[in-house]
Amino acid sequence: MILLVYIYFSLFIFVFVSLWKALKYAKMPMHSRWELYPVPKETGERAKYGGSYFEDYQWWAKPREVSHVGELKEMLKEMLFIKNLFVNQRPFWWLSYTMHLGIYFLGVWTILLGVGALTEPSGLPSFIYYATLISGSVGALLTALGSIALILRRFTDTTLRKYTTPQEYFNLLFIFAVVITGMMVWVGDPGFNYGRMIMKGLFTFTPFTHGGVLTVHIILLGALLVYIPFTKMSHYVGKYFTFHKVLWENEPNLRGAKIEASVRKALSYQPKTSWSAPHINNKGN
């Protein structure tokens, strides 16, 4: 029972803190424009070569065109394939992507476990069974492989080692430990029946049986879920803002435009404190 509550708790913290962080970023004051081209929401070829509406003669007199599809496509490429890393640093991408892909697979696996738990009473469809099997095993292997490879790479590469803090090794090790304990449970139950059992327990709020290794695994996983949003591993939140709200945010402030009201509001803000350099308070004299 305690373990059940613990899982609820860690899931809640994970979601709650992640959302809270997102909200915190979303509520930050409007910043100066700081876009960086290429901006994928520009239309047509421009999205590719990095052009913008500023290329149009009298751009401000033309209707603004934005390609949300282009933006979405670029976002998905980044999310699903870590495109920037692929393009700019292939060797590291192999390792990082192995781990991230593993985590994505485990995400899918978790959903499939849920679906499995719901369908099991009326007979588990075999494709759910096999999809769970594949996503779980591939996910676990890739995550384990990726995280340990990243640790080794960081440790053996003289440059990376200089910049990696003990905490950053710990983070990777933490992920590795969670996956390894998971794999230890899995060895004793290759069909992931225990996973569906836990899901059922979660859905129906009924305690489930758990052996020693499973207990350790759940405790570690729960701790990881609680820990992630407090660390920079929560970059799933940050990345949205760096791209959407900073690098790709190029909305012009035109007379009468929608953004004008927000600009007006931002301009009306009166700071309560000030910088201390002499020229700041002397109005440039």
Binding site: Y25, M28, P29, H31, S32, R33, W34, E35, L36, Y37, P38, V39, E42, Y49, G50, S52, F54, E55, Y57, W59, W60, V87, N88, Q89, F92, R154, T159, L160, K162, Y163, T164, T165, P166, Q167, K232, H235, G238, K239, F241, T242, F243, K245, V246, L247, N253, L254, R255, E260, A266, L267, P271, K272, T273, S274, W275, S276, A277, H279, I280, G284
Partner: protein, 532 residues
């Protein structure tokens, strides 16, 4: 120091690095003796300034303290500024991008390969984009976070915060051109250029320390006299008269340059450095705008004749003050739009960075001159003969125009139309390399800083230029680097002089409008002087 780490910034050693083997240059600069050796700083500079980073002095106003108390005062002032950049009260305009870039670095080191300074230096550790960021991050961790205070080195809060750390970090913020090429490469969208700029802001806005050419003789002078060149209104008006005579002598065209014309369609603004150093550039604009029959004007109002905004590089408060004055001029003249001439950072300042400081009636649309110029060429408003420009031409992309603003195509279309031997640099467009003059470097002339700029900062650009002209290096063939930006021109002028490239290989530089005027059918003599 061997195997240098960010933590070493706090060590009281004499000089962290001495630059040695730099990135190789292509032929003919791959031969020994084509480049003077790097120098060491003078003792007097060591005593007075901070040379303990790499031996160069970028911040001429950063003075070594004489007493312990003075040292502490500097450190405390830095730390107080550090807290302020994270404040949603005084740093509202950059809080979100700053926090994101501080928090999420995955230390994947992808950004290093993108940085021309790091590459040109032969891979010096201190110029790695994340080196600087990591020092800042460590100070933030140690000074501003609970985890840093409790867990210390476990979470990366392992750095000594003393005068040397702070001074070196300040200097290091001036070893970055703020070109943001590294940010393009970052898988998390983080921005080491922004972090360098925030450090510069702490120095200027809180500690009152900024390079003289940017601050005292830059924004301060501009706010006082109207121009960072010190150019006053009467001198400006004189200059225009002289320019009209010069245009007549060169092109046979009698032109009256419109000044302070109320209600004109276009207010054209230039970097005042053009009037002083490259008057052919504003003259070429005058020829083309008159030829095309545009309804345009220059302004002789305070600040109206200088579109620069050095604040962009180091101080938000100054940037805003300058921009406000500039927009006011346009409003008072009652023009329909502002067109920015060949100045990259003025493009970014007026059209992008300062886009959100005015609203309603005060908001005058800002355009780059490039789409307008392409419109003129494309619609055949101008009678042009490309054969007049039949020599190798390459294009330098000012970062502020391409990467920060997305104006990429019009300049290429123009060059393709008027220069039969146009060739691109590699890489180009939004992936260009900075000229090495970005973020104030082009005008920072104190002590040995120009050596850093010329041999490290501009090295990648020099390499690209040489590569673009491979096969045409014969001194009998004139070659032209088109650099539509005053600062880029300044940096390129300095490298061509430094490496004697013009004299040895007949490589010249200049703007874009000069090329267009040179191609005008109805002028007899070449407008570009090196062709005369």
């Amino acid at each position: 120091m061997k195997n240098l780490k960010p933590q070493d910034m706090g060590k009281r050693t004499e000089q962290l690095v001495q630059l040695g083997k730099l990135m190789d240059l292509p032929a003919p600069y791959d031969q020994p003796g084509m480049e003077p050796p790097l120098t060491v700083p003078k003792d007097a500079w060591k005593e007075k300034h901070c040379t303990t980073l790499d031996g160069y002095v970028g911040i001429d106003t950063l003075i070594r303290p004489q007493t312990k108390a003075e040292e502490e005062q500097v450190v405390n002032s830095f730390l107080s500024g550090l807290a302020k950049i994270f404040s949603d009260d005084v740093n509202r305009n950059f809080l979100q991008p700053l926090v994101l870039s501080i928090k999420y670095c995955a230390k994947c080191n992808t950004c290093s390969e993108a940085c021309h300074i790091f590459k040109a230096s032969g891979g010096q550790e201190i110029y790695r984009p994340i080196f600087r960021s990591e020092v800042l991050r460590k100070i933030v961790k140690k000074h501003l976070t609970k985890s840093g205070k409790m867990l210390g080195s476990l979470v990366g809060a392992d750095i000594d915060i003393n005068w040397e750390t702070i001074a070196r970090l300040g200097e290091l913020a001036y070893r970055c051109n703020l070109c943001r090429r590294c940010a393009q490469a970052c898988p998390l969208g983080l921005d080491n250029g922004l972090l360098a700029r925030e450090i510069r802001k702490i120095f200027s806005q809180e500690m009152g320390i900024a390079p003289k050419p940017l601050h005292e003789k830059g924004t301060m002078l501009q706010l006082k006299t109207g121009s960072s060149t010190g150019l006053t209104k009467p001198a400006f008006l004189d200059m225009l008269e002289f320019m009209e005579d010069d245009i007549f002598a060169k092109t046979g065209k009698k032109i009256k340059i419109p000044v302070d014309k109320k209600g004109a369609d276009i207010l054209l603004t230039h970097n005042a450095g053009e009037f002083m150093t490259w008057p052919d550039n504003p003259a070429a604009f005058a020829v083309l705008f008159t030829e095309a029959g545009l309804d345009w004007t220059l302004s002789s109002d305070m600040i109206g004749y200088d579109n620069v905004n050095y604040g962009l590089w180091y101080d938000d408060v100054q940037a805003r003050r300058v921009a406000q004055e500039q927009f006011k001029v346009a409003k008072q003249l009652g023009v329909r739009r502002i067109i920015i001439g060949e100045c990259g950072h003025a493009h970014k300042a007026s059209a992008v960075s300062m886009d959100r400081i005015t609203v309603g009636e005060d908001k005058i649309p800002v355009e780059s001159f490039l789409p307008l110029l392409w419109e003129m060429v494309n619609r055949k408003v101008l009678k042009l003969d490309p054969q007049k420009n039949n020599f190798p031409v390459t294009l330098h992309d000012p970062c502020n125009v391409v990467r920060m603003m997305g104006v990429v195509k019009p300049q290429r279309q123009i060059l393709q139309a008027i220069c039969p031997q146009f060739r691109e640099m590699t890489p180009h467009g939004v992936n260009n390399y900075c000229c090495g003059g970005g973020s104030g470097f082009a005008i920072m002339q104190s002590m040995n800083f120009p050596e850093f700029r010329k041999q490290v900062g501009s090295r990648m650009k020099f390499r690209q230029i040489l590569q673009a002209f491979q096969g045409s290096m014969d001194p009998g063939t004139p070659k032209y680097i088109c650099a539509p930006c005053s600062n880029c021109k300044g940096a390129i002028r300095d490298i061509l002089e430094f490496y004697h490239t013009t004299e040895k290989f007949n490589i010249h530089y200049g703007g874009l409008v000069e090329l267009v005027v040179n191609a005008l059918v109805d002028i007899e003599k070449p407008f570009l002087e090196f062709l005369a």
